[in-house]
Amino acid sequence: MTPPISRGFRRRHAADAEQADRVPPGQYVVTDFPVLSAGPTPRTPLEEWSLEISGEIDAPRRWTWEEFRALPTETFATDIHCVTKWSKLGTSWTGVSVDTLLDGVETEAEFVLGVCDGGYDTNLPLDDVTGGKAWIAFDFDGVPLEPQHGGPARLLVPHLYFWKSAKWIRQLVLMKDDQPGFWESNGYHNYGDPWREQRYWGD
């Protein structure tokens, strides 16, 4: 079906050809860094912070902040896409690859639930957080990630809509079966591929 024309509406900003291939359907590029969160920003002191891998794993793993920060890190640039329509190109992050955290782990899990301070959670296929596709990020643009953007550390899975990149991450629960997380239970798509515009239930 041809969409109806909105009389008098027109493009106001010339398309940037170089950006065009990097912006998924229905998205627009921003230069600032909007914040979306469902509740107040949690502030866990670093001395109380830990990161755990639990669930379908013989010996759960746990790192204090100091131990976590002693792990090998990667610094990289990536584009991020929020389901509320903004995309931010070439953002710079430093973090620990989830591959590093899972190194040597034998598991029958096919899914992972990221669980956060403040009660937020989000579900992903294990394949989407392994193979160099996901990090626990703690620096943005070379400085420690601000609490409102998920500091001290957030999951970063840039190839999916940004709600999957859970702020204030504390735990990765390995699971045999999928289990919808917070937004996935509240009307948003279970997988969230921006290139297939999987925003909501039924997309």
């Binding site: 969409p3 109806p4 024309i5 909105s6 009389r7 008098g8 509406f9 027109r10 493009r11 106001r12 900003h13 229905g26 998205q27 627009y28 921003v30 600032d32 860094f33 909007p34 914040v35 979306l36 969160s37 469902a38 509740g39 107040p40 920003t41 949690p42 509320t84 329509k85 903004w86 403040g118 009660g119 937020y120 959670d121 643009d141 409102q148 919808p180 997380g181 917070f182 937004w183 239970s185 509240n186 009307g187 925003r199 909501y200 239930w201 039924g202 997309d203």
Partner: protein, 260 residues
């Protein structure tokens, strides 16, 4: 705060996924920078107060743009209304606020979101805190409350720069005069007219302590506005002892240069 506990049921798959043609019935200037647009939407499935929707505009050359907006109307209002604030450098908001005329069409899909919603059956007390156009989804909640003759105690604290920037000021004052348990409080952060009896500063802990119920009352709390506003209000409420799990927030852009 487990994931979906307490959330009103989210829309079914078909509700959100389908683009629907919407015809503008009325565009009314609310403030110098914002208009309320009322649409006839064929097959609109209904919504809950606090939900939002997606708008899609198509230009004659086929160019399309999408944005998300909070729904300003109550479920009981029949038609779907949006209140949109103009961002001068924006592409969509100047068209909606200034150019779109009755009879013109766009596409909508939704409603979206099962978290930032309130239904009279959820009870109260209901504490609403709004910065600027953050009042839009909260107005939908208050209209929903009023349409059902609910007496759930409700308070709205709204912050704007100047009196002329206060959205829905006449309507909200009228709701407050109904004396049915709704109280309206406002603060003006830049300039207040002579005779102004409200607050005259940015929202802070002392103001929220004065306005909010005791944390023991377990008020259902909704905070909506620009990021810095929501951060300040939500942090202050948590600092005053309110349960973070009862505070639902919605932040919107643009965030300005200081937010990165």
């Amino acid at each position: 705060m487990s994931s979906a506990t307490g959330a009103t049921e989210a829309p079914g798959p078909r509700g959100a996924a389908t683009w629907r043609s919407a015809e503008l019935v009325e565009r009314r200037g609310e403030t110098p920078n914002a208009s309320t647009l009322t649409f006839d939407v064929s097959g609109w499935p209904g919504h809950h107060a606090g939900q939002h929707l997606d708008v899609r505009l198509t230009a004659e050359d086929g160019y399309q743009a999408q944005r998300s907006y909070s729904i300003a109307s109550a479920p009981e209002d029949g038609r779907v209304a949006l209140t949109v604030e103009r961002f001068e450098e924006g592409e969509v908001s100047p068209y909606l606020v200034d150019e779109m005329q009755p009879g013109d069409v766009l596409e909508l899909r939704g409603p979206i979101g099962g978290w930032f919603v309130w239904h009279i059956a959820d009870g109260g007390p209901l504490l609403l805190v709004a910065g600027g156009s953050g009042v839009v989804p909260l107005r939908a909640m208050l209209r929903h409350r009023h349409a059902n003759a609910s007496h759930v105690p409700a308070r709205l604290l709204v912050s704007a720069r100047r009196a002329e920037d206060l959205l829905y000021s006449a309507e909200l004052a009228e709701l407050a005069e109904a004396d049915d348990g709704f109280e309206l409080l406002a603060t003006l952060t830049r300039e207040a007219p002579a005779g102004w009896t409200g607050f005259t500063r940015r929202i802070d802990r002392e103001m929220l302590e004065e306005v909010a119920w005791s944390p023991r009352e377990l008020a259902r709390t909704f905070v909506c506005g620009p990021t810095a506003f929501v951060e300040a209000a939500a942090d202050a409420l948590v600092g005053l002892g309110h349960d973070p799990a009862l505070i639902k927030t919605e932040r919107f852009g643009p965030t300005g240069g200081s937010e990165t």
